[in-house]
Symmetry: D3
Subunit: 73 residues, 6 copies
């Protein structure tokens, strides 16, 4: 029954996304004892110019080399 929405910036590879879906599903199944077939995980990728932190877009923060303080990638 659980529905998980994962919001990330664009750039994850197919295998990274597969690992997220698998890992989050496993967690919900193990921790909450949910049925995997009704556990859904959706990844929503957002452009870096559409994601703001500290009032500025991630795109801009990355251009200025300032994202290191906020996010490694």
């Amino acid at each position: 029954m659980p529905f998980v929405e994962v919001n990330i910036t664009v750039g994850a590879t197919k295998s990274q996304k597969a690992l997220l879906v698998e890992g989050i599903t496993d967690l919900l199944v193990n921790v909450l004892n949910k049925n995997p077939s009704s556990t859904q995980v959706v990844i929503k990728e957002v452009g870096t110019e559409n994601w703001g932190i500290s009032g500025r877009s991630v795109k801009k923060l990355r251009e200025e080399g300032k994202t290191a303080n906020i996010s490694k990638t």
Copy 2:
């Protein structure tokens, strides 16, 4: 006032999407007596590699012909 977010995998046609918007709006207007002009329905289409069920992407499940158990389409 209602706001409805419909999450589906990509692939719906324009006329299918129009039917969803019309049908859901009619329901809210009829059941909850809402004003149609303030009833909003948004369809968010998600790539099949970004939607996971049972810990695997719909893309993979479809390639293996296993989605029949989970979803007809």
Copy 3:
């Protein structure tokens, strides 16, 4: 597979909510040919002081009898 989030203000009755869940599921099954058992509809009820239209809370608009212009209820 579809996941629908219905945002409304608090106050719907149990039977109204049951009609919404049933009606929206039927629509998705009929229009998109989805499997009903993987079609999920979640209703999120929001307090009227937490929902704003035209820059003011629905609570306030209702107190002033102004919501008639925006929503019947």
Copy 4:
């Protein structure tokens, strides 16, 4: 800590999006005394054929010149 999701139809310019991110962050920082570095604003752009008002897509409403009643843009 706040996370704000702004749903709009496609068409905003980069500078408009930057103004939204900056303005909403400033508001949260000033009104709620939140730390800007943990305040995130995400803009989700939706195609006009995927956004319905009054039971019809914004795309159709605009083609018929009827959106003026509902939204200036």
Copy 5:
């Protein structure tokens, strides 16, 4: 930067929720190399009468003992 929204029905214990937050954060940090301090996980608990599967509320499905087919809990 990631923001994860976990939708579940009410009933999870504090320690279960702590395990979900910890596990999902670890996944995002390990798989996507994200900074943990900007990784946020929010759990939204929904009443069983507000969550529908197969066109009926989880509350009803559980009363009829039919949820076993859909979810273990």
Copy 6:
């Protein structure tokens, strides 16, 4: 047409919430030239035990006095 979902932890006062709704609506009207009557802002308040940062709940971080690094409130 815009729909904005503001996720915050519980604890904001009525007047703070009114300021958020008013300020965000003004921004959307001014920056995107949207009609205020179709601009909706919804505030979703989340319990501190349901919001995780750095893999731990805000509730716990606050008890340990560690939230100062992450959020002022």
